[in-house]
């Protein structure tokens, strides 16, 4: 197990290097001129001399590989430069907004899992009967509705018509419900479908038949054997949902005026504030990679077939 974890950690290094290279290349090959944005946002008229000075200052006139290594070296020391707009260190600003986003994403993930589990199980146990039909109908609806429309639909129903929940800003739990619902409905539905499919597959498996043949009650067969095995693939799906949740967070933060890193990044993109943009994508990707690594390790730990394979290879 330890070997497996170490191996995965070692693989992280080349992947993150490649990620940084892709981000750097997109930044430099894009048609935008960082020096121009820098001058515009600093309020300096972009004369030829000013541009030349800014390029030297930002190191844009050196060869690309040198720029990359320099940039990478700074990033490794957690120096992502200063925002063109506020002149503050970018990382500081991102870390200021990030906890708000993580709280929202964490709550959404909780909502996804807490709701999809009973829905998926009921749907599988009541296959083809009314509860199953309802759950399948809901999940079909859920995977087809875009989050940015869903957000307004929720605002319209729960804030405007029923006046139950606030539609803007950050506060207690009540402020979190609508944005989290906006972010999680799709992964919730995908997850419910996944649990249903796994349950159905396992219910008809040989080990379930064997458990029944041993005279175990159906409740024990389902609860102890089928359910446990059906949840293992859900662990992997969680890693996938995190990526969707990060994307959904940007949209939900924009709709519900949630002061998170997504909203901050969108305004940075409007301003072409390059240091903020690159720090944002690197941090979000790093979080995504680390989450997926955690998920894989958890998966390996849960599933002896992988755990043992890791040790022998």
């Amino acid at each position: 197990m330890l070997y497996y974890i170490l191996k995965r950690l070692a693989l992280l290094v080349p992947i993150l290097l490649a990620v940084s290279l892709v981000v750097f290349l997109i930044l430099r090959l894009g048609q935008g001129d960082p020096a121009m944005s820098y001058l515009r946002l600093s309020g300096i008229p972009p004369t030829d001399e000013a541009l030349a000075v800014a390029r030297t200052e930002l190191g844009l006139n050196r060869p690309l590989p040198v720029q990359y290594l320099d940039w990478l070296g700074k990033a490794a020391r957690l120096d992502f430069g200063r925002s063109y707009v506020t002149k503050n260190p970018v990382l500081e600003e991102i870390l200021y907004y990030l906890p708000n986003t993580l709280v929202l994403a964490g709550f959404s993930l909780f909502l996804t899992l807490a709701a999809s589990l009973p829905l998926g199980v009921i749907s599988a146990m009541e296959k083809d009967r009314l509860p199953d039909q309802l759950v399948r109908g809901l999940s079909f609806f859920g995977v087809s509705i875009p989050n940015f429309f869903l957000g307004f639909l929720l605002v319209w129903v729960f804030s405007i018509k029923l006046r139950w929940l606030p539609s803007l800003g950050m506060g207690g739990l009540s402020h979190m419900i609508l944005p989290a619902a906006t972010m999680s409905l799709m992964s919730l539905c995908i997850n419910a479908r996944l649990i249903r499919a796994n349950m159905l597959e396992n219910l008809h498996s040989r080990y379930a038949l064997y458990a029944r043949a041993r005279g175990l009650s159906e409740a024990s067969v389902v609860g102890r054997h089928v359910l446990a095995n059906s949840l293992i693939p859900v662990v992997t799906a969680v890693g996938m949902h995190v990526g969707e949740l990060f994307g959904g967070a940007v949209v939900a933060e924009s709709i519900f005026a949630w002061p998170g890193v997504g909203r901050y990044a969108v305004s940075a993109i409007y301003n072409r504030d390059y240091p903020v943009m690159q720090c944002f994508i690197l941090i979000m990707t790093l979080l995504f990679v680390v989450m997926n690594l955690g998920v894989d390790i958890l998966y390996a730990w849960l599933d002896p077939r992988i755990r043992l394979q890791g040790e022998t290879s």
């Binding site: 990620v19 997109i26 087809s144 307004f152 405007i160 990526g243 990060f246």
Partner: protein, 277 residues
């Protein structure tokens, strides 16, 4: 069971009709739209539904129905371009990796790994942020963030088909490498690919409109459904219908493609299930 089958068949027919109607209205928007989508008439600001304006007008007095019809053009057009781009790139990379194997295979798959490392929507946002807004850049960003997943699946399909008995039988009976690939391996891969793409079209459409909604996609005067929702967001308290119309259009379109994709997958199930896991 029979009732359900009939209901499902009905839904698939419905989905095909929806897609057909949307495609036609996208193609014929200039002919059937009652007004120009950009025609501003402030005297008609928030005009209710009438014969003149069947779905009313928005905050600039633009005809909502016309904007929805032209919006179908942008949505259907961009998604078609993205799907085409991804199919070509994913097919080329996946088939090359699957057939050649060895170093080429591992190099190509490492490139895919890198692209799969990013959270998709965040990477698309970043690309549009750097490249600038506009329909072409949105198409590019969404394609570049999605192709790797296709390349992966196509590679595993190619690998699993390469050593199937019927393919070996064709080789043994004297069919050359290229001919075998062309006649026996590529067609089934391509069929699976079309199903995958159909299932994924809703997702692509949501990304395009989602970017536009954030102001990072198609630039505002263009009638696009995501842009229309974004334009109407400040009027959610007074004129929620301006959000409902484009929202429902996206919802119905995505649903239609999902229904169609599900039906196609069910019809051609087995190989895909194996390859995807």
């Amino acid at each position: 069971m029979m009732l359900e089958n009939m209901a499902r068949r009905g839904l698939v027919v419905f989905a095909c009709l929806v897609i057909l109607v949307l495609g036609l209205s996208a193609a014929a928007a200039p002919l059937i739209a009652p007004h120009s989508p950009d025609e501003v008439d402030l005297s008609q600001k928030f005009a209710p539904a009438s014969l003149e304006h069947p779905l009313g007008c928005d905050h600039l007095g633009r005809d909502v129905l016309s904007r929805l019809l032209y919006g179908a053009r942008v949505s259907m057009g961009s998604v078609a371009a993205i799907a085409g781009f991804i199919l070509v790139l994913g097919f080329a990379v996946g088939v090359t990796a699957g057939f050649l194997g060895g170093k080429v295979d591992s190099a190509l798959m490492r490139v895919c790994d890198v692209f799969l490392t990013f959270p998709t929507f965040i990477l698309a946002m970043f690309m549009v942020g750097v490249l600038g807004t506009g329909i072409v850049n949105v198409i590019l960003a969404v394609s570049l963030t999605h192709w790797a997943w296709y390349a992966r699946i196509i590679r595993s399909l190619a690998l699993s088909l390469k050593n199937r008995e019927y393919v070996l039988a064709a080789r043994v009976s004297g069919s050359g490498r290229m001919k075998t690939a062309w006649l026996h391996i590529l067609p089934p891969i391509f069929a699976q690919l079309v199903i995958l793409a159909t299932l994924d079209i809703g997702h692509m459409m949501m990304h395009v409109s989602g970017l536009s909604f954030l102001g990072l996609g198609v630039a505002p005067p263009t009638p696009e459904w995501g842009v229309m929702i974004s334009d109407a967001r400040q009027f959610v308290w007074t004129h929620p219908e301006l959000i409902m119309y484009p929202g429902l259009m996206i919802f119905i379109t995505v649903m239609a493609f999902n229904l169609l994709g599900d039906a196609m997958r069910d019809a051609l199930d087995p190989a895909l299930q194996e390859a995807a896991h």
